[in-house]
């Protein structure tokens, strides 16, 4: 019976919001606990079950030398390793440091910079160890998390679409904020999963699920520029929670390069 499957939840540089989504599964949480032994989940229980684990959920990005080593051991302990959220999957908002000078950040923030041991970059888990599956989002979507766990318990592939947020927008009948209000929205190049929450509340998608497949950013930002959005706003839009995702990174760098010409 599936009840012997062991789950571990691990945290790196992150805000804990994705782990909280697991607790937010509410009614489903008890059902999940019937099928999985939640062996390691420091956010939620003080008992620490040693590895190995059948499935490890990893939140957060790698920002310190110690974490770069810790993820190696976690990988060894997990049969399946799944990154949860923008930090683990693309480096998170803290990857903005990748465009700056780490020494100047450290000396600006900490009274005694010598005590700080940090890396110059924030990088996704997949830059360090092989990852079996990614759950996108900032934070992840609880329905996608339940789908992931369900598929794992039932032994099938998780159904997590790689299509654009526009698919979800149209499915719920939301009026497009880009077309009807001229708001620059990243939905057409962002992976679905959130249920198009932001457009449904009259604001733009800001790309927290990372780039969709494909993601034609040059065409989209070009359209917004022609409609009057300043390049600086488009750089900020593409350089946020998934700034380090290759497609978003390439576009924010391209826009920045073009605006300096």
């Amino acid at each position: 019976m599936a009840a012997h499957l062991r789950l571990g939840v691990f945290k790196f540089a992150s805000c804990d919001g994705c782990q909280l989504q697991l607790l937010d599964a509410q009614g489903k949480l008890l059902e999940i606990a019937r099928h999985l032994d939640i062996a390691h989940f420091p956010e939620a229980r003080s008992a620490v079950g040693e590895g190995p684990y059948d499935i490890g959920l990893v939140e957060g990005s790698i920002t310190t030398p110690a974490d770069a080593e810790r993820i190696q051991e976690i990988r060894r302990q997990c049969r399946y390793l799944v990154t949860i959220g923008a930090c683990a999957t693309s480096g998170g908002i803290q990857a903005l440091r990748n465009w700056g000078q780490i020494d100047s950040f450290v000396s600006a923030v900490y009274a005694t910079p010598a005590f700080i041991s940090t890396l110059a970059t924030s990088t996704p888990i997949a830059d360090h160890v092989p990852v079996d599956f990614e759950l996108r989002g900032c934070p992840i979507d609880v329905r996608q998390l339940v789908e992931l766990i369900t598929s794992f318990v039932l032994g099938r592939k998780p159904r997590v679409p790689s299509t654009s947020v526009c698919v979800e927008c149209k499915a719920r009948g939301t009026v497009c904020v880009a077309v009807a209000q001229g708001i620059p929205c990243l939905g057409p190049v962002t992976q679905a999963g959130c249920g198009a929450i932001c457009p449904a509340h009259g604001r733009e998608c800001f790309g927290c699920f990372g780039p969709s497949e494909p993601a034609n950013l040059v065409s989209l930002t070009g359209q917004y520029e022609r409609q009057g959005t300043p390049p600086e706003q488009l750089i900020r839009l593409t350089r946020s929670f998934n700034a380090q995702s290759p497609a978003f990174r390439a576009e924010s760098d391209r826009l920045e390069g073009a605006s300096h010409e």
Partner: protein, 394 residues
């Protein structure tokens, strides 16, 4: 006591009546007794279909300006109840909903049992259906009812659908129903059809259900009388004039380009241009975002998934909208057969305007213009087809 100028029994299908706004209000209220009534309303910067309680909720005084990737509403004191044209929603949103549970199953003691489904919701009545969307309804009927593979959910909703169509008095720049022989005059198939006049509606009866409703209204002293011959002619002239003006439209500086589509030999034209470099050019602009297909009132693709709960004992078979712009749509063993955006855009246009003719004996396009307006980067199939037509095959 108001005496009706002609007795009820003389009113037949095809007859025209004079309906004051209060009559339309009563019509909506009467329909609501046993229908879910939806109609156009202003919400979130567009005219969308929503549940409608009365004429006060209709977009009176609102006009829409539409262009590639752009939709804006503005108020105009001369605009009537229905001088806006089509918004992002169509009948498809109701008859072929984005998500539908088509079956469900429960496993008890190792045995799977199919659950019986709860009966459908109340029948649907839609106010304000334009000619292009009545044409789209005929096209979707062929797809879901006419192929020998009847879709039971669609059929149940369609059979009980009540349509109050509206003849457009105005077209948006993105409208090109005149090119597709789909408007602007509403073709028979409606239950009632309205043509807005100065402060009243000319209402034509189109079906036995429409006739029955008018009979109920006429007994309620709603000021409904027969149209005079002159009034009927004037109402018919509205569509004739609009169609003529659509054919005569010319581009004007500073205004959205008026759309039209030359359909002459379009099937063979498109089939001959499969390797044209224009497809690659569109692909540099196309986002593969799916908006064009999802707003199109005739696009019918769907995908079916079995959704199980954690126990694996409860399974819902869910159908949801799919689009030829997603990689998954053409994924089969070994990968996607349409991995480039160029191949996906080509699939959409050639199916809509050419393959559809072979498959369903009509175009898949009604000229409603939604795919142009709601494409975030304003890709315009009329422009793409013109580009293919006015260049030599490679």
């Amino acid at each position: 006591m108001v005496v009706s100028p002609s007795p009820i029994s003389e009113r037949n299908i095809g007859d025209w009546l004079r309906l004051p706004p209060a009559g339309l209000q009563l019509l909506i209220e009467t329909l609501a007794e046993n229908h879910r009534v939806v109609g156009p309303q202003v919400a979130d910067g567009a005219v969308v279909y929503r549940d409608l309680r009365g004429i006060a909720e209709l977009p009176v005084g609102w006009l829409d300006e539409q262009d590639g990737g752009r939709y804006r509403l503005h108020q105009d004191p001369t605009a009537g109840f229905f001088d806006h044209v089509v918004g992002p929603h169509s009948l498809k949103n109701f008859l072929f909903p984005a998500r539908e549970t088509v079956a469900s199953f429960v496993r008890t003691d190792g045995e799977w049992v199919q659950q019986t489904h709860a009966p459908e919701d109340r029948p649907l009545a839609v106010i304000g259906v334009r000619a292009c969307d009545m044409a789209a309804l005929r096209i979707q009927d062929k797809v879901f009812l006419g192929s020998g593979h009847v879709d039971p959910g669609y059929q149940a909703r369609r059979q009980r659908l009540f349509t109050v169509a509206v003849n457009c008095r105005r077209a948006a720049a993105t409208c090109f129903c005149h090119s597709m022989a789909c408007g602007p005059a509403v073709e028979p198939g409606f239950d009632l059809a309205l043509t807005e006049r100065d402060g009243w509606f000319a209402c034509q009866i189109g079906s036995p259900a429409g006739h029955a409703l008018i009979q109920r209204l006429a007994t309620a002293d709603a000021g409904i009388v027969s149209c005079t011959v002159e009034e009927v002619d004037a109402a018919k002239q509205v569509s004739i004039d609009l169609e003529a003006s659509m054919h005569a439209r010319q581009p004007e500086a500073g205004a959205p380009r008026p759309r039209s589509l030359d359909t002459h030999g379009i099937r063979d034209l498109l089939y001959a241009q499969m390797e044209h470099p224009r497809w690659e050019e569109v692909a540099t602009r196309c986002l593969s975002c799916t908006n064009c297909t999802l707003v199109c009132p005739t696009c019918f693709c769907s995908s079916v998934t079995e959704v199980a709960d954690l126990s694996g004992d409860h399974v819902e078979r869910e159908r949801h909208w799919a689009s030829c712009f997603t990689l998954d749509h053409a994924r089969m063993h070994g990968g996607s057969v349409r991995s480039s955006t160029a191949s996906r855009y080509r699939q959409w246009v050639t199916h809509k305007l050419a393959g559809w003719i072979d498959q369903f004996d009509s175009s898949g396009c009604t000229g409603c213009g939604r795919c142009i307006t709601w494409c975030p980067v304003g890709i315009d199939l009329t422009e793409e087809v013109a580009a293919l037509r006015h260049s030599d095959p490679p």
